[in-house]
């Protein structure tokens, strides 16, 4: 459990690379099953978020927490990003922050 290092910007594609590390992702909550929420990541794939309280469906939520597995995040903090969030731009940031410009972020 690595909580000291910077938080990595991830989408569903990048999450598997950072299992066990602190990550941040924006998901659009599609299903709510008690403690476990299913959401659509910024690259249109499914992610499972644990530890989120009740959030209205279809809103974008930024989740910061530990990547528990290749498909799930255990949330520690979350922020409601509203309905008018541009997932494409954020997805591009994820790709750039982990690719060519990793030095600026991690």
């Amino acid at each position: 459990m690595d909580t000291s290092r910077p938080t990595v910007f991830v989408n569903a594609e990048l999450l598997p690379m950072y299992v066990g590390r602190k990550v941040r992702a924006v998901v659009q909550v599609t299903q709510s099953d008690g403690e476990i929420k299913t959401g659509k990541s910024t690259d249109e794939l499914q992610l499972i978020i644990k530890g989120l309280p009740q959030v209205p469906l279809m809103t974008h939520v930024e989740v910061i927490g530990i990547a528990e597995s290749e498909q799930s995040i255990h949330a520690e903090t979350w922020t409601n990003f509203g309905n008018t969030f541009d997932t494409q731009s954020y997805n591009q940031v994820c790709q750039l922050a982990n690719g060519e410009f990793k030095g600026l972020f991690l």
Binding site: S89, L104, L106
Partner: protein, 276 residues
């Protein structure tokens, strides 16, 4: 636009600099901010700040990507907010690192600004980077909560863009500097030049460091260049400095407009206004 057909004798009869000391600054082409003494605002991530190069230990002279860092803007989450009577300190966590921030609260407008700022909130900060005993902190001028969260993605994209711009600027200055691409109306017929002055300009041709204007100026300030009343023909300058006529003429034009050189007997002979 003035300065293209220049009657050197008449213009400089009064002495002193041309009134156009404030050159047309709105030039989109690459000109290093160091040359112009411009203080720019940089969007940065905390990671970039942590890795900024400190020029001297006693002052807060940071550089990032070769550019002086003065005012910065960041986006991140507020943590450990502590409010005192005269100031508010908090830690800004933007996901790439954490930096301590301080905002002085002196007037009502300041206290109104910080009142609504709580832990866990995303904020946009403008401030000045300070270093003390190896620790980097931010002196905050302006702080406001973020309401449209697209601003977060936008800020990071901004950081990437400015980083790319500055690193490419450095690469360009490593090669030949491209001067301002002004529409140059002066035609340049290559006449046979007079006897070349003795070659005393033996400096290193490190074009990367000195731009062409500086080279021309240095050359014209040499005693050999000032020996002849007519000054130096631009062909000669081009040959000695090994620069193309286009670049030379636009540098000369800039120098003339700044009042550092002037044309003498015709449009092709130039002399420095500061002698030797």
């Amino acid at each position: 636009m003035y300065g293209s057909q220049f009657d050197g004798g008449a213009a400089f009869s009064g002495g002193g600099f041309m009134p156009s000391q404030t050159t047309q600054a709105a030039d989109p082409s690459f000109s290093s901010s160091k040359n112009r003494e411009i203080q720019s605002l940089l969007p940065l991530t905390v990671k970039q700040i942590k890795e900024a190069f400190l020029l001297s230990d006693d002052k807060s002279n940071f550089t990032i990507d070769g550019v002086d860092v003065n005012n910065v803007t960041l986006v991140g989450m507020v943590c450990n907010r502590t409010g005192r009577i005269t100031d508010v300190t908090f830690i800004l966590d933007d996901g790439t690192g954490r930096i301590e921030c301080n905002k002085w609260v002196q007037e009502l407008v300041d206290s109104n600004e910080v009142e609504g700022i709580l832990d866990g909130m995303y904020v946009r900060i403008h401030g000045h980077l300070k270093g003390f005993m190896g620790k980097r902190t931010l002196n905050v001028f302006s702080i406001r909560p973020i309401t449209d969260f697209n601003e977060i993605a936008s800020h990071f994209i901004d950081c990437i863009y400015v980083h790319l711009y500055n690193t490419r600027l450095r690469k360009l200055q490593g090669g030949v500097t491209t001067q301002q691409q002004m529409a140059n109306s002066t035609s340049t017929p290559m006449k046979g030049s007079p006897a070349a002055p003795p070659h005393q300009f033996s400096g290193q041709y490190n074009v990367g460091q000195k731009n062409i204007e500086q080279m021309v100026l240095d050359f014209l300030q040499l005693p050999s260049s000032n020996a002849d009343e007519k000054g130096v023909h631009c062909d000669v300058i081009a040959r000695q400095l090994r620069v193309s006529m286009d670049k030379l003429m636009s540098s000369i034009q800039n120098l003339v407009e700044e009042g550092l050189i002037y044309s003498t007997t015709d449009d092709f002979h130039f002399k420095s206004t500061i002698n030797g």
